[in-house]
Subunit: 203 residues, 2 copies
């Protein structure tokens, strides 16, 4: 059975990364997509694990050769999803998790209508605001950019297939898991068996 | 959280009834809708458990008073779903399971676009044919009617949201359960929290 393409988005600081890490650790049907980006590596980020780090020239070559599932520019950096890796994993039956911004997510939905789009939200506005503002490590401009981005994300959430609240992490992980598993039973993926039956009964 | 309206259909003899019984027994979020019908009770069928048994006059009064979620006529008998019972259960947070024919299922989909439509199929044409023909207790006319109906059902399956194979009962039950549970996270049911966040961030 071919794996699903799963897009996970959500407000910054809402714990999407942790949710995806847990899915990978606790279930054997998931693979994490590794994105390409032109942003600089942060301390500890390894090539090919967190990201494939690219120069702008390299990234624009990937675009030109149509080797990306999607790409977007965010705060002066490119982010994109290399096709080859995603296809390989899906053909091995893995559900491939992409953590991407809303821009990229909606492009995926256009190109791959059977993709599963999941938006992860904080349990309340107060909790989200605390997470966005309260780290205390960022300057005002960064915080303002983050708030503006969260507003955009909130406006785009309605385009997703599912919204999941990350209040209790374990529950959120389980919910995301059953959403993805149940997507494998969507009718469009399972008509072959019914069609076989219809043909047999028409003999 | 309001319960979902869940329509379960599938080929005759495929074990839908058993799947639904197991859902009710093994999980506490399900309620079985009890249908009204004008067909005669079979031995052991109790009023208000298997069905509410009605005369044709009584049933047509339910229709006239718009007290049915849906109804259909099949093999000279009316079958329908009383509204009051379904609403009560859903308001108590129960996911209400309706086992109905394809005619009724598609009417439900029109009237309640958020209903979850699940079609249960046998694992192969051969298995289904054995189940339809092989009971050995029915005359040829009944078997032919059953085969004709199965063909109709196969043609209608594409209108459902999900198709689930009933090969190993336990797996089928689990799959139907996660399909219904995951439907509670559909975006349209969960935008209130995101909207609250959007408003807060726009202050």
């Amino acid at each position: 059975m071919k794996g699903k393409l799963v897009v996970v988005s959500g407000f910054s600081g809402v714990g999407k990364g942790t949710v995806m890490k847990r899915l990978i650790e606790e279930y054997d049907n998931y693979a994490l997509s590794v994105s390409a980006t032109t942003r600089k590596p942060r301390p500890g980020e390894k090539e090919g694990v967190a990201y494939f780090f690219k120069t702008v020239e390299e990234f624009e070559e990937l675009i030109a050769k149509d080797e990306l599932v999607e790409y977007a520019k965010y705060v002066d950096n490119y982010y994109g999803t290399p096709k080859a890796f995603v296809d390989k994993m899906r053909n091995e039956g893995k559900d491939v998790l992409l953590e991407i911004e809303i821009q990229g997510a909606l492009k995926i939905k256009d190109k791959f209508p059977d993709a599963v789009l999941i938006f992860i939200t904080a349990p309340s506005a107060q909790v989200l605001r605390e997470r966005l503002v309260g780290r205390g490590t960022e300057d005002e401009e960064t915080v303002n950019k983050r708030l503006a981005r969260a507003r955009q994300e909130a406006e785009g959430a309605c385009k997703y297939d599912y919204v999941v609240v990350n209040d209790v992490l374990e529950e959120c992980v389980k919910t995301v898991d059953i959403i993805i598993k149940s997507a494998h039973n969507r009718t469009e993926d399972n008509l072959a068996i019914v069609e076989e039956i219809r043909r047999d009964l028409s003999k």
